[in-house]
């Protein structure tokens, strides 16, 4: 029996569906609240997908840290010189 105070559980999805949506989820690209709830419900109940999600988060953080580059001073000066001529 369902009382008025019961919350409706999101529809179950499988691991493959969760992993299919994982990158869009982590990149903040899942805008449908129901789809979001389904993914989060699955991640809350599946240790394997939860671990995978954490791994992907860690990978993204490391990727961002490793791949960030700073424009060399020579390039900065070159660009400013180009723009000064406009």
């Amino acid at each position: 029996m369902t009382s008025a105070t019961d919350k409706t559980e999101p529809a179950e999805i499988g691991c493959l569906e969760a992993i299919e949506a994982l990158y869009a989820y982590l990149d903040g690209e899942v805008n449908d609240p129901q789809a979001l709830a389904r993914i989060e419900h699955h991640l809350g109940h599946c240790r394997s997908c939860f671990s995978r999600t954490e791994m992907e988060r860690a990978l993204t953080a490391q990727l961002r840290k490793s791949a960030k580059s700073r424009a060399p001073a020579a390039l900065q000066a070159r660009l400013r010189s180009i723009m000064d001529k406009f």
Binding site: G28, E29, G44, E56, L59, Q62, A71
Partner: protein
């Protein structure tokens, strides 16, 4: 301030804001700093003369990334002895070994948990190099997509705009690129003889 001064001020400010990001993407595209610097300089020059094509100033970032990408493709075509050897979109082919289902089987829980372990700081520098090596090995279209989104923070729509493809294509390139990246790191871990099962597998749910 007249219109020309306004344009110049806007352009200079916007280029300054995006200088590092432009260089970062150019570096990963060209794989060497001299070519990357030339690519950014050429892109900035072209961008100025195409400024009237920028309808919405809030989209400057994706607009100038698109110019950079076009300059890169154009330069590659000019350099190539046989242009047909350059298959920018080659990587849509499905070689059948990177599908998501096999990924779930190939990468054990222990590896995922080990990788995500925040205590694993001792490996961070090594892994940073491995990640960049794995990124450099990615096919061009996946590499660019992953960099634009995961490193430079573009949305899927912005990346689609830069790459001139539908947002759905960006979404599938992200899945494929990240899957390939993860497989490469798994291989690195195995090649390095890392015994991931030595790390405790915490139960988190």
């Amino acid at each position: 301030m007249n219109r020309q001064d306004d344009l110049r001020a806007f352009f200079s400010h916007s280029v300054e804001e995006n200088m590092d990001a432009l260089y970062g993407v150019a570096l990963r595209l060209t794989r060497n700093s001299a070519d990357a610097e030339d690519l950014v300089a050429e892109s900035v020059g072209k961008a100025w003369f195409a400024l009237d094509t920028l309808v919405d100033r809030t989209r400057f970032r994706s607009w100038i990334f698109r110019i950079l990408r076009n300059c890169f493709i154009s330069a590659r075509r000019k350099k190539s002895v046989r242009p047909s050897e350059f298959h920018y979109d080659e990587l849509f082919r499905d070689d059948g070994d990177g599908d998501l289902a096999s990924l779930l089987v190939e990468q054990p829980e222990e590896f995922l948990t080990w990788w995500a372990n925040p205590e694993r700081t001792v490996f961070n520098d090594i892994l940073g190099e491995q990640i960049m090596s794995a990124i450099d090995d990615l096919p061009q279209s996946f590499r660019t997509t992953v960099l634009l989104i995961n490193v430079e923070g573009l949305t899927y729509d912005e990346a689609a705009d830069v790459l001139g493809v539908p947002a759905g294509t960006v979404r599938s390139r992200m899945k494929r690129g990240r899957t390939l990246l993860q497989k490469a790191l798994w291989q690195h871990a195995m090649d390095a003889g890392l015994n991931v099962t030595d790390n405790p597998d915490e139960c988190r749910t």
